[in-house]
Subunit: 414 residues, 2 copies
């Protein structure tokens, strides 16, 4: 079953609003086994809407429309739909009751403009809007379904979840489609692709693989189509088990979990605490960790030691080591990790020292050179990384690499 | 001049990714006086891409395509474009040099898959991708322009700003349109609008004002259309001078400068140094400051004191004050600021202690309660803020409020 999403609104075309409705609707449809084949944003304009309805009907069985139903603009979308389906208007009492209820709650008088919101095309099945005034409209034509919904996100979401999705599943007697996303970190997309080439070539035809890269992270999304959701998911899981034999160390989780969530859960489970000592990441690692609600259970704090004096005074890094090896060195990053663990009294401590750029690089230690150390009661381990030239990405990739180092250690020790 | 934006990627159609590229591109085109008439998201599929190119050529003069250019096999845009424009492939040496450069920096070997990224359709003008490996492609056909760009946001943005927009302006001889954005912080949009109402009503017809709100920041963008860019900009500057008489304290800069850049420049100018002591912001303030290249000239470090023990041990906050007033109090935040200034030996120190949420709020100190203090040689000033309920936004708004406090102090003392 194929679906298309049409978003109506000039605000989308001038870039004033990010279209979060489209991605939310697409995710909901996908979860229900409906394949979204096309998403468009068009103007509040009769001709644009008519053209799009015609084109959509060629491509899809389900056409979902959001936006253009407010009390000032609704005439365009609603009238255009009525015209398209050659329908007159009727007064819909339950919608008018809803309009009156909403206005009473806000202590506003109901105007003639508001009364008109209860006029709906007689050929549609109205969908009550329990969070707003503009009703949704369900049309059927030549075996295809067209649904118009409000553009206000929470009104649209309630209507989709409570009414539109259940009606679609029933109307089209839908089959199954399932997805699972494997989260990886620390290996570039092209390198990863060649590592797992054999595995990828052995995937059956009904399972599709997509690479979704972000700085420092590559997501591998597996999608399977068939009849039985549980069987398909079991099949995907089997392929992921095989995948693990190729790249076990770089897989940190599934389905859009973040690395900071993963290490948070591992720390809670083990009852351990963490601190950080940061030079080139400048607090970003601590920020990632504390972006997770409840992180105070395992995160005690960080010393952002940008200046060497702070490494010396607060982390007790030996001045001689700073002098002899430089701040970006195994010796110093290990001393930073040990110092933070001792000063902040935590089970683990992660330390990062590197050259984020664009300045500060040398031939011996170019921009992107980053040392990361992890200290715990058994000692300290450290690793040298070579990232790229982009400051912001070097900061992000350093923090992710540190979190991954901690994850591997926590998984080994659990 | 009409434009259309085509976003290629299955991840958009299953709703895994919010399409921020489309809104950003639409906003950039709009700023250049180009009207966006249509935005679509389509599959990584030859037929879907070809159909869309045909439809787009009917509606628009400029067709911008983003996505589908990665090195792996789900990316088929390049081949489809070559087919559409009936073009063979040539090896593009500068692109291969760029691929090698990116991989050398990461110490990875260049694979055959990567070498293929330098194969480009001979009928296009290649656009070098200075932030990634996949080049952009500029095609011209029947007076229309088609541009293919990478889907990775920062790669696309750099290419749009540096190459695509200037080329479009030149190719289509676009009229003069100038913009200047006034950056404000600390006043909500609706309150700001009523403060500057009289000024706004006196703007001439050819100057348009747009409110562009973000958490903690409202940008006021003035756009003027006409013939002479210099005259238009002088006119905008005169109106901004008048605007300053209404809201001087909350304007921190112009044209998308960040608050962290502004305070960086002020600190460099005054030769002063800064440190931070952070509780609820968890390192985000230090991260903002160090996201600026060259910040090591004025930023020495931060103590992220998430746990009270760290406030006590590293910042020397009095245990009695923590007990008596709680961590979120004037007494504690002032002691944190003074402690950081002393321990990290800086001219200024900013401290933040608050309740980011969603947990930890009380009737007396609900989620969003944040104390911020600024310490310098003359003493310490502090201020209480009440932000909202959203953790991420509370963290961001706290950090911005702290930076603005420092900015006002630096401007007063300069």
């Amino acid at each position: 079953m194929k679906a298309e999403i049409i978003n109506i609104g000039d605000e989308l075309l001038i870039g004033q609003v990010v279209n979060t409705n489209a991605s939310w609707m697409a995710a909901e449809l996908t979860k229900s086994g409906i394949q979204v084949v096309y998403i468009s944003s068009i103007a509040d304009d009769v001709r644009a809407i008519e053209d799009e309805l015609n084109a959509a009907a060629e491509r899809a069985d389900i056409i979902l429309i959001s936006g253009g139903l407010g009390p000032t603009k609704d005439d365009i979308t609603k009238k255009t739909l009525a015209g398209y389906f050659e329908s007159g208007f009727v007064f819909h009492e339950p919608t008018f009751e809803q309009v009156k209820k909403i206005f009473a709650a806000r202590k506003f008088e109901v105007s003639e403009l508001n009364r008109q919101q209860a006029l709906i095309p007689e050929k549609c099945t109205p969908l009550l809007n329990i969070s707003g005034t503009a009703p949704g409209m369900w049309f059927e034509k030549d075996g295809k379904v067209f649904v118009s919904m409000p553009g206000v996100p929470f009104e649209m979401k309630t209507m989709m979840t409570d009414q539109v999705i259940p009606r679609l599943v029933k109307y089209f007697r839908l089959g199954a489609i399932v997805h699972k996303t494997v989260m990886t970190t620390g290996m570039p997309e092209s390198f990863l692709a060649s590592q797992i080439q054999d595995w990828e070539n052995n995937l059956p035809h009904h399972i599709h693989l997509a690479y979704l890269p972000q700085p420092g992270i590559v997501r591998l999304r597996l999608s399977a189509k068939g009849k039985d959701k549980e069987k398909l998911m079991a099949e995907i899981d089997r392929h992921i088990n095989t995948l693990k034999t190729y790249i076990s160390d770089i897989i940190f989780g599934y389905d859009d979990v973040s690395l900071e969530e993963v290490i948070g859960a591992l720390l809670v489970k083990s009852g351990k605490t963490i601190s950080t000592a940061e030079s080139c990441t400048g607090g970003y690692l601590a920020h990632l960790i504390t972006s997770i609600s409840g992180s105070s259970r395992y995160f005690k704090g960080s010393v952002v030691s940008y200046a060497n004096a702070v490494k010396r005074d607060l982390l007790h890094v030996d001045a001689g080591a700073l002098e002899q090896y430089g701040a970006v060195s195994r010796q110093v990053v290990e001393a930073m990790a040990a110092g933070a663990r001792e000063q902040l009294k935590t089970d683990f401590s992660l330390a990062i020292s590197g050259i984020a750029g664009p300045d500060g690089g040398t031939t011996e230690k170019p921009v992107g050179t980053v040392w990361i150390a992890l200290s715990d009661k058994d000692g300290v381990i450290s690793q040298l990384f070579h990232f790229g030239e982009h400051r912001g990405r070097n900061i992000r990739r350093s923090a992710l690499a540190a979190l991954n180092m901690l994850r591997l250690q926590l998984e080994k020790k659990n």
